[in-house]
């Protein structure tokens, strides 16, 4: 980790986050979409920790996403209706999901391959039906609608995130007022999540996790405990996905049970695989691309989801590393060279 490397990461990421909503404008994008992409993208980044770095295909991330949203919204509407607090909603959403991920994680990491995936799917379905049927708490099929989300308290200020930025015409790139403060907040959270993920992957923890993914048998026999690492990865991924869900709930001021369906879990899979597993920005790129297609294409043709499916299959067959994955191979070769240079005469 060099200073130059750090600067490059932060510089490019911040620049990208700032430019993103404006760059997509000429092709039909808009501020709200950009915000949604970031929020959902956080969940994809979490999922990638499991699939790309731990080698675990979880087909149940939707349970963390959906429950995170429900808990956040219920916090302001049911649990603490007299003192609705933005941060509390976010915190409770994430905390509850983290606990959930820990308990479920302890159970699922005993299994491998298809059995692991199916068990995550089973748990996700359980939560879906619980949310669906528990009308008293969740309003069942109708979901929670039009919840009054409080302004975000920040020291002496109270910031209403739905406030648009002041108007400023940027020609083909739209108008600054198309963006709301929500985007800035989502961008900050995204930056923090990416920075965290980057550090994690390059850390001792990340190194061992990768070793376990590449050869679990060997890893156990040199002394690592694969199970604990997998649980840790599952919990972190769950927490991030829960954060994503909580943000989504607060952003939409509503949530419905379809946030917990197999389709939603499948979406995280699709976004991440297309963007690039094992890459830091891949999940975000994939989320952006597909959500863009969903939003913009769906207005123009009914076949948008078919196109999405075809892209997905094409990526798996021809580009298993995803869109951003092609660069990775060369990075590994560089690393090997660097290490051998150190071990020299």
């Amino acid at each position: 980790m060099t200073v130059a490397g750090e600067l490059r990461f932060y510089g490019l990421t911040i620049l990208g986050l700032i430019l993103f909503p404006f760059l997509i404008h000429p092709i039909g994008g808009y501020g709200g979409l950009a915000t949604e992409v970031l929020i959902v993208g956080i969940g994809s980044v979490g999922f990638n920790l499991l699939l790309g770095y731990a080698g675990l295909l979880s087909y149940g991330q939707a349970m963390f996403y959906g429950v995170g949203a429900y808990v956040a919204l219920l916090t302001v509407s049911r649990f603490f209706p007299d003192h609705p607090n933005f941060w509390l909603a976010l915190a409770l959403g994430v905390a509850f999901v983290t606990l959930m991920a820990f308990v479920i994680g302890m159970l699922v990491v005993r299994l491998y391959g298809i059995y692991f995936s199916l068990l995550t799917l089973a748990f996700a379905q359980m939560f879906f039906f619980i949310v669906f049927k528990w009308r008293d708490l969740t309003q069942g099929d109708d979901g929670l609608q039009g919840i009054t989300v409080p302004a975000m308290g920040l020291g002496p200020w109270s910031i209403d995130l739905t406030t648009p930025f002041p108007a400023l015409n940027l020609g083909p790139f739209g108008d600054l007022s198309d963006l709301h403060y929500w985007y800035a907040f989502a961008a900050l959270v995204t930056l923090a999540v990416l920075a965290f993920m980057r550090a994690l992957v390059r850390s001792q923890f990340g190194e061992v996790l990768g070793a376990i993914r590449d050869n679990e048998e060997r890893s156990a026999l040199i002394g690592f405990d694969p199970r604990r690492y997998k649980v840790a990865a599952f919990v972190i991924a769950g927490a991030l996905t829960g954060l994503s869900g909580a943000l989504r709930g607060l952003y939409d001021t509503s949530i419905a049970p379809d946030a917990l369906t197999v389709e939603t879990s499948g979406n995280f899979v699709i976004y991440t695989v297309i963007g690039g597993v094992k890459t830091l920005f891949g999940p975000l790129v994939g989320t952006g691309l597909i959500m863009y297609l969903q939003n913009v294409l769906s207005a123009k043709t009914d076949a948008w989801r078919l196109i999405e499916g075809l892209i997905f299959v094409a990526v798996i067959v021809f580009l298993p590393g995803g869109i951003l994955g092609a660069r990775r191979k060369s990075a590994r070769a560089e690393l090997a060279k660097a290490v051998s240079a150190k071990a020299g005469p």
Partner: protein
């Protein structure tokens, strides 16, 4: 006489009705170089799997340094100092040779689980030192930067031994370390094992009788899952029942 480092009492492993190992009372002292031999199917690899924690015993107990380790899993046993090198070299094929050893050294220094999300292991000099030491012992320093999956069979096995050594074991289990090696490689590995024997206890499964007879302090013979005989190389060579167990009584050269 030195202390008993590893002991099993009545150790057995059954798969349904088939007993791969049974009634094994086995003792080895610190610093010994003990060979475990026997015809194919005698249960040698199963025995090593039981000792290293890969397989769970269905009967009996294992004691390491006086402590009952039977219920402990593989990672815990490595932490205690029991390391195993595989019959077919089991490495991280996409990593460099050095990184393979570093991972083992990392496991030794950090323990079975450490949540260090911000510290890169590249900063740990201790890990590098142990890894380089292990590579030097097996004389593979020149290939430190090579991709492990690209190595020749013999080199892979040597790296596998280095990886086991990098966990800083007290007892090293070598499962057929010279299988499939050329004469020259066998000679080198023989010298390597002799060198290692000065620093740690070694258990060795092998079929190369010449090597076994020359290198071992003592030999345990397994046959059909049970201990058939134990003794010095000379005693085993002279043992009638051992000769019968190996078809035709061959005890010289390769079986």
């Amino acid at each position: 006489m030195s202390e008993i480092i590893l002991e099993t009492k009545g150790l057995g492993k059954s798969f349904g009705a088939f007993a791969a190992n049974a009634d094994i009372d086995f003792t080895v002292r610190e610093g010994e170089l003990r060979a475990v031999i026997g015809p194919n199917g005698a249960g040698k690899t199963t025995f090593f799997n039981l000792l290293s924690g890969v397989a769970t015993a269905t009967a009996g107990d294992i004691f390491f340094e006086g402590r009952r380790i039977t219920p402990l899993g593989g990672p815990r046993r490595v932490a205690l100092g029991i390391a195993k090198a595989f019959q077919t070299a089991n490495l991280y094929p996409d990593e460099t040779v050095l990184q393979n050893c570093r991972l083992a050294a990392l496991a030794r220094t950090q323990g079975s689980f450490a949540f260090e999300p911000f510290r890169p292991s590249r900063r740990l000099d201790e890990v590098d030192r142990i890894a380089h030491e292990a590579l030097e012992l097996v004389d593979m320093t020149a290939l430190a930067g090579a991709r492990a999956g690209d190595l020749s069979h013999g080199d892979k096995k040597r790296v596998d031994i280095a990886v086991a050594i990098a966990t800083k074991p007290k007892i090293l289990l070598l499962d057929e370390p010279v299988a499939g090696m050329s004469l020259e490689e066998v000679r080198k590995t023989d010298a390597l094992i002799r060198g290692l024997a000065k620093r740690m206890t070694i258990l060795l499964i092998e079929h190369d009788m010449t090597m076994i007879m020359g290198i071992s302090d003592s030999i345990t013979v397994l046959h059909q899952g049970k201990i058939l005989a134990e003794g010095t190389p000379a005693e085993i060579r002279a043992n009638q029942r051992v000769q019968e167990a190996y078809l035709g009584g061959h005890t010289e050269g390769h079986v």
